[in-house]
């Protein structure tokens, strides 16, 4: 009952624009009150990188009671969908487990959280 629920958002961007997308995403996340967001999946489709983020929208009780926790998360989702139109931001299922995402998270940690650089490295490696 106390488990949080996540909503997936996927950005579809070219490898060249990946760092721009990451930068825009980081800006949007930092604009809002703290919302738990994790990198849930990275995939490649043709020349595009599909970057899936899992945004926590709170517990069931948060959602049903319309608490601030879930409200802020829903606003963030709305802002990402509207603000990152250029990168075709869209709702998506949260992947069960992603080796690529684990790799990206390791990169992030090794680079002190510099998401743009890490994602750019990942794109280069792809």
């Amino acid at each position: 009952m106390n488990n949080t629920i996540e909503v997936g958002i996927t950005l579809a961007t070219s490898q060249e624009d990946l760092s721009v997308a990451a930068h825009s995403l980081a800006n949007l996340i930092s604009e809002e009150m703290p919302v738990p967001v994790r990198l849930a999946g990275i995939d490649f489709e043709g020349s595009h990188v599909l970057l899936t983020m899992a945004i926590s929208v709170g517990t069931l009780e948060d959602i049903k009671a319309n608490s601030t926790t879930s409200k802020v998360a829903f606003v963030l989702i709305d802002k990402v969908l509207n603000g990152l139109s250029r990168h075709q931001a869209h709702l998506s299922a949260v992947p069960e487990h992603s080796v690529a995402a684990d790799f990206a998270r390791e990169l992030l940690e090794s680079r002190s959280g510099d998401v743009e650089v890490a994602l750019a490295d990942l794109a280069m490696a792809a």
Partner: protein
């Protein structure tokens, strides 16, 4: 007249000296003295300049370059850069020497040159798909992806269709069989409990099976025609119309406008008839130019609704009336003329922005070109409805569940969003969603219906949600 004067107008407005006629005149005169001497002859005295400035203000209000600040009652420039460019274009009559010169026909219409793509003339391109006369059945469905193909399979005649960016479904049938097709489609819809909206038949209209034309030639033709139109003063008006709708600067939306106009031009391809011009011969650029005259207005009406458009129009009329009486149109004065508290305005604007943010129009255009046909001799494609709509669908759902009030207050409908999300993207049944959310199945259904209800208010949303 020169842009220096335009810059002065904007400077005056931006500095908040709008209501101070003396300051306005002084600054305007200073500008004239600084180099704008060619406009001096047109103004006899301060009063004339004052009148000129008032006329400019009226025009700027009408064009959406000025807006009212409800908190202070003042008028301010929406974007000085856009305003400067718009005034400069107005003063210079927007004559770009690089833009192609249209020819004015005896009818008063404008015509442009024929286009050539990779050495193939426009006449040769159209020659791939000669014009035929057919009847056209058009209607709006909530789920065209699924039902249009069923309808075409059901109709006992040759039919053609493809995707259109306005989300209307159009099926072409042989000339003289439109009424029969309509009756069959209505009977089919009634038997299957499917809601067909705004069904109509246009008899004996031109049709081209554009799938017969090599796609790179069609693509080149469309893109060149669009670029020509965008380089005319009408192109400038189109950009300005989009700027008013999207509330973004022209420089930020130029590519989006081009993409949207390309989609619009693709929609026109199969009904273009080069033998129907004012002189018995026309070309595609002229056709697009003519059709684009009311395009932005139609989009505006679709996204804002007629009521809001009327409100805007009343505001401009009220403003003109007050200015004519020598009064400054403050917000409080305008409130007596208009209904200023339209809460749906922001939401409708968000819907429009969802439509506006169509990138990669060329790629989408390729998909639009794919004709589906039950003609055994004609081309067909199973991928015809594979248009990427995940982004637009996501935004539509989010817009329905996260709303922003005029006072900045945010309202969220988490249950509706999560019900729709889990059933659409999680692939769950209502019962499964209810179990995950620990609510009754009825609550899940009600949440999804609330999202759908938002769609009922707006045709664009309805189309997106399918």
């Amino acid at each position: 007249m020169n842009p220096t004067m335009a810059a002065a107008f904007v400077t005056v407005l931006s500095d908040g000296a709008w209501n101070d006629a003396e300051t306005v005149n002084t600054l305007a005169l200073q500008t004239l003295a600084d180099g704008g001497t060619d406009v001096l002859d047109q103004f006899d005295d301060d009063r004339a300049i004052n009148v000129a400035l008032r006329r400019t203000r009226t025009w700027m209000i009408r064009e959406g370059l000025l807006e009212f600040d409800a908190t202070t009652g003042d008028i301010r420039v929406v974007d000085p850069e856009d305003a400067t460019a718009a005034i400069a274009a107005q003063l210079e009559d927007s004559n770009d020497p690089a833009a192609p010169e249209p020819t004015v026909l005896p009818s008063g219409k404008q015509a442009f040159y024929d286009i050539e793509v990779e050495g193939v003339s426009e006449d040769e391109i159209w020659g791939y798909a000669p014009t035929v006369t057919m009847d056209r059945l058009s209607f709006t469905l909530t789920n065209p992806q699924e039902f249009v193909s069923q309808i075409m399979d059901m109709l006992p005649m040759t039919t053609f269709t493809r995707l259109y960016s306005d989300h209307r479904s159009r099926i072409w049938v042989p000339q003289g069989q439109g009424a029969e097709a309509r009756a069959l489609v209505e009977a089919w819809a009634s038997a299957n409990d499917i809601d067909l909206m705004r069904i109509r038949v246009d008899e004996s209209v031109s049709f081209r099976n554009i799938a017969q034309i090599p796609s790179h030639l069609v693509g080149g033709l469309v893109q060149q025609a669009v670029d020509v139109v965008l380089n005319t003063s009408r192109g400038h008006n189109i950009c300005r119309g989009f700027r008013n709708l999207a509330e973004r600067r022209i420089s930020e939306i130029t590519e989006d406008v081009r993409s949207a106009l390309i989609l619009f031009a693709y929609d026109l391809l199969d009904r273009f008839d080069d033998a129907r011009g004012a002189t018995g011969k026309t070309n595609f650029t002229t056709f697009v130019y003519g059709k684009s005259a009311n395009w932005v207005y139609d989009l505006e009406r679709r996204s804002y609704g007629r009521e809001v458009l009327d409100t805007r129009r009343k505001m401009v009329e009220a403003s003109d009336e007050l200015i004519a009486r020598g009064e400054d149109p403050t917000q409080s004065m305008l409130n007596s003329h208009i209904d200023a508290g339209d809460g749906s305005f922001a939401e409708r604007m968000r819907v429009f922005q969802a439509l506006l943010n169509i990138r990669d129009a060329e790629a989408i255009g390729e998909a639009h070109l794919q004709i589906r046909s039950n003609d055994p001799n004609g081309p067909s494609s199973e991928d015809v409805f594979d248009l990427p709509t995940a982004h637009e669908l996501s935004r539509a759902v989010s817009s329905a569940c996260v709303t922003y009030g005029e006072n900045g207050k945010v309202r969220t409908d988490g249950v509706a969003l999560m019900s729709t999300y889990l059933s659409t993207w999680g692939g769950m049944t209502k019962r499964e969603v209810a179990k995950v959310l620990s609510v009754r199945e009825h609550t899940v259904g009600a949440g999804i219906r609330r999202v759908a209800a938002k769609a009922q208010d707006n045709e664009a949303l309805l189309d997106v949600l399918g």
